[in-house]
C-alpha cells in the first residue's frame, strides 16, 4: 500500500463508437509504485481504456495526464518515451522477428536517453523474464505464455515507470499463470514501477493488486482495496448478470 504521488490520472474520460457509449465519464488514478487492477465483465470497456491512455483512440471528452503532463492526443510513441508501456490482450509482439530483435526494438526506440545501452537493457529485460535462452527464437514459434513474457520484456526494456498489462493471463494454463505472476512479481520488486492491470479473471487480480477498480458498461462501479471490492454488491451483480464465458 505504498501509494506515492499520482502517476497516471484519468478524469472525466468518455468515448463512444457509433451509438455505443463505451466509456462514460471515467475517473481513475494510478500512483507511483502501485499495482492497480481494473476488472470488469466482457465488453465493459477495459481495453478501450488502455487504447485511450496510449492514444490509439482519442477520448471524446476528458483528459489523461501522466507524470503531471497532459498526454491526451499525444502521439503513441511519445507516450512511450515518457515511460509508459503496455502489452496487448492478443499479443502484438513482432512474430517475424527473433525474441532478441523484439526486445532490442523496444529498447532502442522506447527510451530516448539512458546511461545503459539498448543492448544491455534488452539483455537485462530478457534475463528478468527468464527468457535469455530463447533469444534467437522467432517470436512466431513461441508459446502463448512465452509471447506474453516477451511483451513484458519489451515493455521493461524501455525502462517504464508504468506498465499497462492487458489481460496477460487469458488463454494460459494454471502453471503458466503461476509462472507469469512470479515473473511479474519479481520484476516489479526489482524495478519498482507501477502496474495497471486489466483482467477478466478476478481472483488473480484480487490477490496480486494493491487496489482494484471495477467498470461495467464503461462506468466505474467500484474502486478500492481488493477485499472491499470483492464484497461489493454491484460488482457481484455485474459479474453474475452476464455469465463468465
Amino acid at each position: 500500500m505504498a501509494a506515492g504521488a499520482p502517476l497516471l490520472t484519468l478524469s472525466g474520460v468518455s468515448k463512444h463508437f457509433g451509438g455505443l457509449q463505451v466509456i462514460n465519464d471515467l475517473d481513475f488514478v494510478v500512483h507511483e509504485s502501485e499495482t492497480v487492477g481494473l476488472i470488469g465483465p466482457n465488453g465493459a470497456g477495459k481495453s478501450t481504456v488502455f487504447n485511450l491512455i496510449t492514444s490509439i483512440y482519442q477520448p471524446d471528452r476528458g483528459s489523461i495526464t501522466f507524470k503531471g503532463t497532459e498526454i491526451t492526443g499525444l502521439a503513441p510513441h511519445k507516450i512511450c518515451h515518457m515511460g509508459l508501456s503496455r502489452t496487448y490482450q492478443l499479443v502484438r509482439a513482432f512474430l517475424k522477428m527473433s525474441v532478441m530483435e523484439n526486445v532490442m526494438m523496444a529498447a532502442v526506440y522506447g527510451v530516448k536517453h539512458h546511461e545503459q545501452g539498448p543492448k544491455q537493457r534488452a539483455a537485462e529485460a530478457l534475463e528478468l523474464v527468464e527468457m535469455s535462452h530463447k533469444r534467437d527464437v522467432n517470436a512466431a514459434h513461441l508459446t502463448l505464455s512465452d509471447r506474453r513474457l516477451l511483451e513484458i520484456a519489451m515493455g521493461l526494456s524501455s525502462m517504464p515507470s508504468l506498465i499497462l498489462l492487458d489481460e496477460p493471463m487469458a488463454g494460459l494454463t494454471e502453471v503458466e499463470i503461476q509462472h507469469l505472476l512470479e515473473v511479474i512479481g519479481t520484476t516489479r520488486d526489482e524495478r519498482n514501477f507501477s502496474i495497471l492491470w486489466i483482467e477478466h479473471k478476478v481472483d488473480a487480480v484480487l490477490d496480486f493488486c494493491d487496489r482494484v477498480g471495477v467498470i461495467d458498461y464503461g462506468v466505474k462501479i467500484a474502486d478500492g482495496c481488493p477485499d472491499d471490492v470483492a464484497c461489493d454488491a454491484k460488482v457481484i451483480e455485474a459479474y453474475l448478470g452476464e455469465p463468465v464465458a
Partner: protein, 347 residues
C-alpha cells in the same frame, strides 16, 4: 488468419547460431563472387555488342527500382503504387537539367545530375508521403500513391514548353562533342548503383532502422506503442525508395537519350519491379535480384519464342507464382523444413 496467432502447440527452434552464421558466410561469399563476375564481365565479354550486356543493364535498372520498392513495400509493408512516377521524375530531372544546361557540370553521366535525379523524387516523396502516411495506412496509401502517379504523369504530358509535353525531351543533340555511346559505361554505372542500392537496403534493414521498419510492417500500432515514430520511418523508407527509383530513371534516361511520358512514366516501371520483388521474396535482400533476373528473362525471351502470346504467358506466370510461391523464391528455401510460411499470416 488468427489460427496462426494463437499457435502455442508448434514450438520449433531455429537452427543454432553457428549454422546461421555459416549460412551467412556462404551467402556473403556467393555475393562477392557474383559482384566480381558482373564487375569484370566487360573485360572478357563484348558488353556493347553482345546480347547479355543490354540484358543485364536492364536487369540492373530494374533491380534499383525494385530495391527501392522492397524497402517501402517489402520491409516497411507500405504498398506504394507510385514508383513509376518517381522513376519518371528522376529521368525528367536529369533530362530537363541537361537540356536546359542548368548545372553546367558536364551532363553525360554527371554524378551531380544523377544525385539530383534522386533528390527531387525524394523531396516529392516527403511532400506526398507526410500527408498520405500520417492519415492513411496500407491500402489507402496504395490508392494515394496511385493517384499521385496519375497526376504526375498528366502534369508531365501537359507540361508544355517546360517538359516538352507528350513529345518529351530528346537528348541526343545535347551529347557532348565526340562522346561515343558505349554500353559498357551504362552497364557499369547501372551495376554500381544496383550494388549500392542493395547495400543501402542491406545496411538500413540490418541496422536499428531496420528493426523499426520491420516492426512497422508487422504491426504499426504496436510499434508506435513501443516508441517508434511510425510516420517518420515510413516517410523515410518511402523517400529513400523514391530516391532509388529516381536515380534508376536517370540511368535509363542516359541510355534511351530520349525522355518522354510514354518512356519513363508507364505502368511498366510500376508493376514489373513489384512483381520482381514479390517473385524473388518480399523483404529479402537478394529477392529483387533473383526476381528481376527471372522476370526480365521471361520478358526478353518470351516474345522471341511466343511472339504475341507472351502477355498471356506473363499473366499465367504471375498467377502461378502468387498461387504456389506467395513468399517468393527466397521463401522456397525456408519452406523445406516446414515452417517457411509460419507467421506470415498474422501480424
Amino acid at each position: 488468419m488468427s489460427d496462426q496467432r494463437i499457435d502455442d502447440t508448434d514450438v520449433k527452434l531455429l537452427p543454432d547460431d553457428g549454422g546461421r552464421r555459416r549460412r551467412k558466410l556462404i551467402w556473403a561469399g556467393l555475393a562477392a563472387l557474383a559482384v566480381l563476375f558482373f564487375a569484370t564481365l566487360p573485360f572478357y565479354y563484348d558488353v556493347h555488342n553482345g546480347q547479355f550486356g543490354v540484358f543485364f543493364f536492364n536487369v540492373f535498372v530494374y533491380v534499383i527500382v525494385a530495391q527501392g520498392w522492397n524497402l517501402v513495400g517489402g520491409y516497411t509493408g507500405q504498398i506504394s503504387l507510385g514508383q513509376n512516377a518517381f522513376f519518371g521524375v528522376g529521368a525528367y530531372t536529369m533530362a530537363l537539367l541537361w537540356f536546359n544546361d542548368v548545372t553546367k557540370t558536364g551532363y553525360y553521366f554527371d554524378p551531380v545530375l544523377m544525385i539530383l535525379a534522386g533528390v527531387v523524387p525524394f523531396i516529392l516523396a516527403v511532400l506526398v508521403g507526410v500527408p498520405l502516411l500520417s492519415r492513411l495506412r496500407g491500402d489507402y496509401f496504395a490508392f494515394g500513391t496511385l493517384g499521385m502517379g496519375m497526376i504526375v504523369t498528366v502534369l508531365f504530358i501537359n507540361g508544355g514548353m517546360f517538359t516538352g509535353g507528350a513529345e518529351g525531351r530528346m537528348l541526343v543533340p545535347k551529347m557532348p562533342e565526340g562522346a561515343v555511346f558505349d554500353l559498357r559505361t551504362h552497364y557499369w554505372v547501372a551495376f554500381l548503383v544496383a550494388v549500392l542500392a542493395t547495400l543501402v537496403v542491406y545496411f538500413m534493414t540490418t541496422s536499428r532502422i531496420g528493426l523499426a521498419l520491420r516492426a512497422i510492417r508487422e504491426d504499426e500500432v504496436s510499434a508506435a506503442s513501443h516508441g517508434v515514430n511510425v510516420l517518420k520511418y515510413k516517410v523515410f523508407a518511402f523517400a529513400v525508395g523514391a530516391f532509388m527509383a529516381g536515380v534508376a530513371g536517370s540511368i535509363y534516361g542516359y541510355y534511351l537519350l530520349q525522355v518522354t511520358p510514354s518512356n519513363v512514366l508507364t505502368s511498366n516501371w510500376l508493376f514489373l519491379p513489384i512483381l520482381m520483388v514479390v517473385l524473388g521474396g518480399t523483404g529479402t535482400i537478394m529477392g529483387p535480384w533473383l526476381g528481376a533476373f527471372l522476370i526480365y528473362l521471361i520478358s526478353w525471351y518470351g516474345d522471341s519464342y511466343f511472339a504475341g502470346y507472351h502477355p498471356i504467358i506473363s499473366g499465367v506466370v504471375i498467377i502461378a507464382v502468387m498461387l504456389f510461391l506467395p513468399s517468393g523464391l527466397m521463401g522456397l528455401g525456408k519452406k523445406m523444413p516446414g515452417f517457411g510460411n509460419r507467421g506470415r499470416g498474422s501480424g
